[in-house]
């Protein structure tokens, strides 16, 4: 074994000796012109290759690289599709104003801020130049007003993901306007947009954004059943809906969601204290119906049904109703490490167990019963 190792090391060393000799005598006697056909100026590097190299460095370095020479500037302007400026803690607005007109091929732009910096003029510049944008993150941009949403609506119609969580100044009219233009939206985060996320806006989203799959309405206190039902009817492909803190929501919303959104995989109802057993039974029933219908069609899938359900602080629920949901959705887990049924604050639901936890429980208790 030791001999083998030393042999390999020898081979390695030989290989490197050979490598070092290549330049000195690799082509001896052939009169080869070493420089022929080689890129002597590295500005001639193919765009794809430069972009591959720059994809391995951070966004700051990419911006610096665009200042190197005209060749690199053009390559980056033409080839850069993703940029994040979240690292920028002071001058994000100036940076966006400066970069947007240059990086016009951007498809993903992350402008998340810890302290608000972005202003409307920067977002307007983005909308004027970056027409290929598909993913835009403006979260925690407290300084932005409706002007920004109107600009995005007109300039970035191919948006599929928009995160405006924490942008508390936006109005529902502006959001409705955006929905009417950005009809390809699949992911929309409105967490904390209390003014923007009203029933009017949700009706517009339900009407125009029929491809919507993910919607976060966390702590949007003005949202009521009217808005959620409009969503359920208009967006049948909805997979994730977070209604945490939407205190006006009642069973009606959940019933419509259960019946109209067969692909719903995650539902957040934290602090929705008006939710009762009726909603839970409708969820359980709809999942059973879906599974039966799936098996009839020959496309039954065990993974169908809810995978995440947050009913924390929903104190009106009883164990039997929640257990019914748990039984109908095998992907919901109460067991440690796989917590996907979240019930904190519901002390009366401690008896609810998922399928696998129930099996484990039975496996422990059965031997005792035999004795």
């Amino acid at each position: 074994m030791v001999g083998k190792e030393s042999l390999r090391t020898e081979v390695l060393n030989l290989s490197f000796e050979k490598l070092m000799m290549v330049e000195c005598g690799g082509n001896s006697g052939k009169g080869v012109n070493i420089k022929a056909g080689v890129i002597t100026e590295w500005k001639d590097i193919p765009v794809e290759l430069l972009m591959q190299i720059l994809s391995l460095v951070d966004d700051q370095t990419v911006i610096i690289a665009s200042e190197v020479c005209r060749g690199w500037r053009e390559a980056i302007c033409f080839g850069l599709t993703r940029l994040s400026l979240s690292w920028c803690s002071k001058n994000m607005n100036n940076l966006v104003l400066s970069l947007s007109p240059k990086f016009t091929k951007l498809q993903t732009l992350i402008l998340r801020q810890d302290k608000p910096q972005l202003e409307d003029n920067a977002v307007e510049t983005i909308a004027n130049f970056c027409h290929d944008l598909q993913i835009l993150d403006l979260s925690k941009s407290f300084k932005l007003t409706d002007r920004s949403l109107y600009a995005v609506a007109l300039g970035c119609r191919d948006l599929t993901k928009l995160n405006i969580s924490g942008c508390s100044a936006f109005s529902d009219n502006a959001l409705a306007y955006l929905a009417s233009f950005c009809r390809k939206l699949k992911v929309l985060n409105l967490c904390g947009c209390v003014k923007a996320a009203s029933d009017t806006a949700l009706q517009a989203i339900g009407h125009y954004c029929n491809q919507l799959q993910f919607l976060n309405l966390g702590w949007c206190e003005n949202v009521s059943d009217v808005g959620v039902m409009s969503l359920a009817y208009g967006c049948p492909d909805l997979r994730t809906l977070d209604l945490c803190g939407c205190v006006l929501i009642t069973d009606d919303s959940v019933i419509v969601l259960a019946n109209r959104c067969p692909h719903l995989r995650s539902l957040g109802l934290y602090y929705c204290q008006s939710i009762t057993d009726k909603a839970m039974y409708s969820l359980a029933q709809s999942k059973l119906n879906n599974r039966m219908w799936g098996s009839v069609k020959g496309g039954g899938n065990d993974d169908d049904g809810l995978r995440t359900l947050n009913i924390s602080q929903c104190t009106a629920l009883t164990p039997s109703a929640v257990q019914a949901v748990c039984d109908s959705c095998p992907s919901l887990h109460t067991c440690s490490g796989r917590h996907s049924l979240i019930m904190s604050g519901c002390l009366n639901l401690t008896s609810v167990h998922c399928v696998c936890a129930g099996q484990a429980h039975r496996a422990i208790t059965l031997p005792h019963a035999a004795h």
């Binding site: 012109n33 056909g37 290759l49 690289a65 190197v68 001058n91």
Partner: protein, 347 residues
């Protein structure tokens, strides 16, 4: 030779070779097994049946020179052997990319043109490590790239919130005043020390006090002259400051601090020596100017500066207040050198 010996030698002797032609026209014979590790060569052999003889050698892309081809073949030769551990491969790769940047660039380019993805990834990572954390100038130097971007094309330097001409002007005035005061204090102390060793007699002092030596009127007129001259100088200074602040105001409101107008240049050139003095290219450290200043005098200066700030910045009350309150700690931000003569001189 026995049959067993033949069996051992035969595969080695019958090892198939292919012919490759590099960008400079030179033709090399390479083991097919190793060359096939490159997808482009593999494609040429399988699909077009090329490389079997010298006359129909596989023409390699323009970016593949004989030197880089040798390197690539060495890489393929090592990685093509099946029994090697990941640790060995990693160790080899680490040593393999230890070469000068120029050769690394050529290798990356050649590997890319031969569609040899593992080597492209390896060399790209190495180049990314070289680029990361460098300034544009350093990158240009490393890769021998031309500095062909115009000033307008280059990214505008980022402006700090305090990096405004008016604030800088105020900072400078504040610091200058403090420095003058300190100087005055020092001179006063020297005078006091000198007064202690006065050798004159009592009679001499009395006659000096009574003013017998000279005409008191004459003394008075000289004093008035001095007063008038000082007043004139102060007015001149104020007017030049106002002029400068007006220029700066235009620039700030126009949101074009870097690209100054011709008007600003003209004012800068025609401004008198006092303005030059006020805007002298100096970085004042406010911290060490405060030491040993009479609080009453300090208060007086603060009032004066506040008054100046009010005149200069009626539209910025909060920011000025913030600046004045933290005047001692804050170091002045220097303006970027890309601006034109006026701001460059003032920075």
């Amino acid at each position: 030779m026995s049959e067993i010996d033949m069996a051992v030698i035969k595969p080695e002797m019958m090892k198939p070779y292919i012919w490759l032609e590099t960008s400079d026209g030179s033709i090399q014979q390479v083991e097919q097994e190793i060359a096939m590790y490159c997808p482009l060569i593999c494609q040429e052999i399988i699909q077009k049946g090329m490389g079997s003889s010298k006359s129909c050698a596989i023409c390699l892309p323009q970016r593949v020179s004989p030197v880089t081809l040798s390197l690539i073949l060495d890489y393929c030769r090592f990685h093509q052997v099946p029994g090697r551990s990941n640790k060995e491969r990693k160790s080899y790769d680490e040593k393999f990319i230890r070469m000068d940047t120029k050769r690394l660039c050529e290798l990356t380019s050649a590997a890319d043109s031969l569609q040899l993805k593992p080597l492209v990834d390896l060399t790209s990572r190495a180049l990314a490590r070289i680029i990361e954390g460098k300034s544009p100038e350093e990158i240009r130097e490393i890769f021998h790239l031309p500095d062909d971007l115009t000033e307008e094309e280059k990214l505008e330097p980022l402006k700090n919130t305090t990096d405004d001409p008016r604030i800088r002007l105020l900072n400078r005035l504040y610091a200058k005043k403090r420095k003058e005061l300190r100087e005055r204090e020092r001179l006063k102390n020297v005078e006091v020390e000198e007064e202690h060793v006065d050798e004159r007699s009592v009679d001499d002092l009395l006659s000096f006090i009574n003013g017998n030596d000279g005409d008191p009127k004459e003394v008075k007129t000289s004093k008035n002259k001095k007063k008038n001259r000082r007043k004139k100088e102060q007015q001149q200074k104020n007017s030049s400051l106002k002029e400068a602040s007006e220029v700066n105001k235009v620039e700030v409101n126009g949101q074009s601090i870097r690209h100054q107008s011709a008007e600003a240049d003209r004012i800068a050139e025609t401004s008198n020596s006092h303005t030059e003095d006020v805007f002298a290219h100096r970085e004042f450290d406010d911290g060490d100017i405060d030491d040993g200043i009479d609080p009453a005098l300090k208060e007086k200066i603060d009032r004066e500066v506040e008054d100046f700030a009010r005149r200069l910045n009626s539209d910025w009350p909060e920011r000025m207040q913030e600046l004045l309150s933290s005047g001692q700690e804050r170091k002045m931000m220097l303006f970027t050198p890309n601006g034109n003569s006026f701001l460059r001189r003032n920075a």
